[in-house]
Every structure is written in structure tokens, then in C-alpha cells.
Amino acid sequence: MSAEASTAATGAVAAPYRSSKLPDVKLMMWVFLASDTMFFGSLIGTYLAYHNRSLVGPMPRDLFDIPLTTVSTFVLLMSSFLMVLALHSLRESDIGKFRLWTLGVAVFGSIFLGFQVYEFTHFANAGLSIHQNLFGTTFFILTGTHGVHVTVGVLWLVSLLITSYLRPMQAKDAVYLEIAGLYWHFVDIVWIVIFTVVYLVEFL
């Protein structure tokens, strides 16, 4: 008891050593994003290395639907926009708007996943499986990994939303939403690259 009391009295001494004034969770998130960048860089590079090397069909041009994918890309971009609004609202301690925007991000993310499920089903019906050809293998690994990231993001945001009902969330908790937001925006920029490199360039 006395030890605790003395700790409280001399808080400066008891504070753990920190090499940085930056919040640990946020720093960790950026380090994770840096590593995830390398991960996706390898996957996209692998897709390109095996591009046009499939011996049997279906080929990308037989399957890709650019208008559809443009819509899903737009949905994901707008979810990023809602994400910054949610963070802004929480920093302003506007819990109602925070909940509204966060729900919006989760819904838009789910819509994106719905597009992806539709796309995968369509491709599978057209005869593209993960072991059909090199295109199938590299495409499903790349976009599947991205889809898993989006799914994790949606679950994360929903869990934050639930948390906001279980205990009061204030502006000082914003860092937890901020790191979820960083993750979400990262998933968005990965899709920006995939949309261009995998989908659009295919039709040039």
C-alpha cells in the first residue's frame, strides 16, 4: 500500500522509461503497416511476374469487369472519407456522429466485401480456381489477402463501435480509433494500387 502511495506521490520517477513521446500503439501500427507494405509489394510483384504466363484459361481479360470494380473502388475510397470524419467527431467528443460515421465505414467495407464475394463467385463459375492457372493462383492470393485485411478492419471497427456502448469513449480514446483508421486507410491505398496495376493496366 505504502509503495503505491509513494508511486502516486512521485509519479515522475515511477513513469516507465520511454525513448519516444509518441504513443506506443500508433508507433506500432506504423511499423506494422511498413511490414504489410512489403508483404503486399511482394504479392503484387508476384502477380506481375506471372502475368500472361498462364497456359490455360480463363485469362484476366475474359473475366475482369472494370465498371463493377470501379464502383467497388469508389465505395472503399468513400469509406476512408467516412473514417476521417469518424475520427474527427471522436476528437470533438461528438459520440453520436462518431458512431454514425464508424457504422458507415463498416457498412461501406462490407459492401466492398460483397462486391468481392460476387466477383470471386463469378470467376469460379467461369472456371477460374486457385489451381486452374498462374493467373488464378496469383490473383486469388493477392485479392484474397486484401479481402482478409478488409474483413479484419470491419470487425475491428464494429468492436470499437460496441465498445463505445459498453464504456464511455472520450476524445482521449481517439488514438484507438486513429490506429484502426490508419489500418483502414492502408487497406484502401493497397486497393488503389491493385485497381490500377491488376485491373486497369490489363486493358491497355
Partner: protein, 344 residues
Amino acid sequence: MAESKHSSVTSYVIVALILGVITYIEFALVEYPQAWLGSTWTLVWLIALSIVKFIMVVMFFMHLKDDDRTYTGFFSSGMFIALATFVGLTAMFVLPRAVASTKPENVAAANAAHAEVPEALLENVETGGASRTPDQIADTPRVADRSVGITPPTASNDASTYSVTAPTTAAAGTPAAAGTPEAAPAQAGGADEAPAAATPAAETPAAAAPVEWDAAHGATVFNSNCMACHQATGQGIPGAFPPLAGHAADIYTLDGGRTYLLDTVLFGLQGQINVNGAVYNGVMPAWNHLPDGDIADALNHVLTAWGTAPAGFTPFTAADVEARRPDALTAADVHAHREAIGLQ
């Protein structure tokens, strides 16, 4: 405070609008190709626009613009390594092919190779060939089909051989060539020449010699479907894909081996197998989307192309394949079948 709140939300809205507009421009560049821009400049623009989107999201939505430089440092180093990986992979796999395809001698060789191939075959290849649905492929007339006509078995033969005759034009035009088979391909002009020359069986149709199957077609089917794994000479890839040369002929002579070979192609094979002392545990896909005749000819190719045909070899026919289809086995059933005929 109210001022900064207002301005940051405004900047978010502007960024989101710009991102949306850029996405539409990218879509429009691809969906409505601009002839004056050319594909190279379109590519440059697409990459530039996606980099702009990327940077805008990172700067404004992820707040790196105003945030601590440490974060930028971590993210940039990850980005740098990712880009280096990306550039390295491109340099190793994509660039050499792109460069090679522009060398004058390779262009000349490619054009020469094109010149030798019949127009109809080129159409098949350049329209995607295997990338079409099985139904479309089955509906497309094949080059080989035009060079030979197949007469159904008559009562006088044992129903396992087909009598093949030359196409009507060639047969009518070269009655004198009946005794000199070598003259037949020379007389058959244009598109039919290459397949006829590649087909020993088709060289003698004017002599009405009974030919058991279309060897050129068998080779074509094998090369476009089986060769990727089992290799052009049927050697397979040790440890990955089992050899066919010799091995298939050995299986053929086993009791039930003939049906097993057909089942393997038609229904696939899954499970651990042992071929010539090597263990394989891969997946042979089912090829039941191929027409009956293709499967039969490919099997005949496998059994005869790399050595002498097995003793008592009766060529597979489309009817053989058709007869097996109703069984609709699974790849696991075929594996059981394999064990039943005494193979490991």
C-alpha cells in the same frame, strides 16, 4: 477551435472529391480509350493518377502531412523495400520478355512462325484458344477436322479402327496421287498443308489405308492441355508430375489398365502414388470438359508418341470415352481403382 474544425472537415471533403474524380478519370481512360493518347501515355497517366491518390490518402487521411516524422520514416522505409522488391521482380521477370519481343530478329522470327501456321489455326490461338469456355471450344471447327474425313466403322472391321479419307477437294484433285502418298500433301494447298504434313496418318488418305486415329490432333490436344505438367516428351517433372513415357504403356498392359488410364484423364486422380520408386502427391485434374475425341486422341498420343505402343494396343476411340462418362467417378475413386489394378 471552430475555425480549425471547419477547415479540416472542408479539406477532407475536398480530398474525397478529388479522389472520386481521379477514380472516374482512371475508369474513363480504360473504358473509353483515347486514340490520341496512345497506350504508353495512358499507362503513364494511370500510374501517375494512382500515385496521386496514394499520396493524398497517406498525407491527408493518414495525417502524415502534419504528424511526427518518425511515422513517415517507418512507413517510407517499408515502402522503399516494397518498391525495391517490386522493381527487382519486374526487372527479372517482366522486362526481359518485353525487351526480347522488340528485338528485330525476334520480330522477324515471330512473323516467320506466323507465316507457316495455317490461318484457321492462328485464329484459334490468337482468339484465346483455351481461354474460351469448353462449349465454345467444342463448337469451333478444328484444323485437323478439315484435313481428314472420318468414316464410322463398318461391319467389315473390328469397330476399333476408323477409315480415314482425304478431304473431298484433295481426293478429287489428285486421283493420280493414290499410289504416291508423298504427293498428297504437296497437292493439298493452303491452310491444309501444315496439318497434313505434320500427320503421317493423313499423308496416305488417298490410298484409303485404314488409319486408327488422328495423331496430329492427339499431339495438339496433349500439347495444349497436358504438356505443361507432363512435359513435351512425357518425362514429367521428378517429384512434381509423374512421367507418362513408358509408364502409361506399362499400365496399359495391366488387367484393367486401359480403363484406368481413361478414367485418370476423364475423372482426374488425387492421392499419393508411387511411380518408378518416386512418390508423387499432386492433383491430376479431371478433363471431362474436353470432347470425347480429344481425350481419346490425347491418350493414343501418350501411348504411342515416345516409344512403341504397348502389346495388344487398341487405340482409344471417342465411343470408349463416351461409354465411361456416365460412371462420373471422383478423383479418389480413380485412386482406389489404381490400387485395385495393383499399382502403388
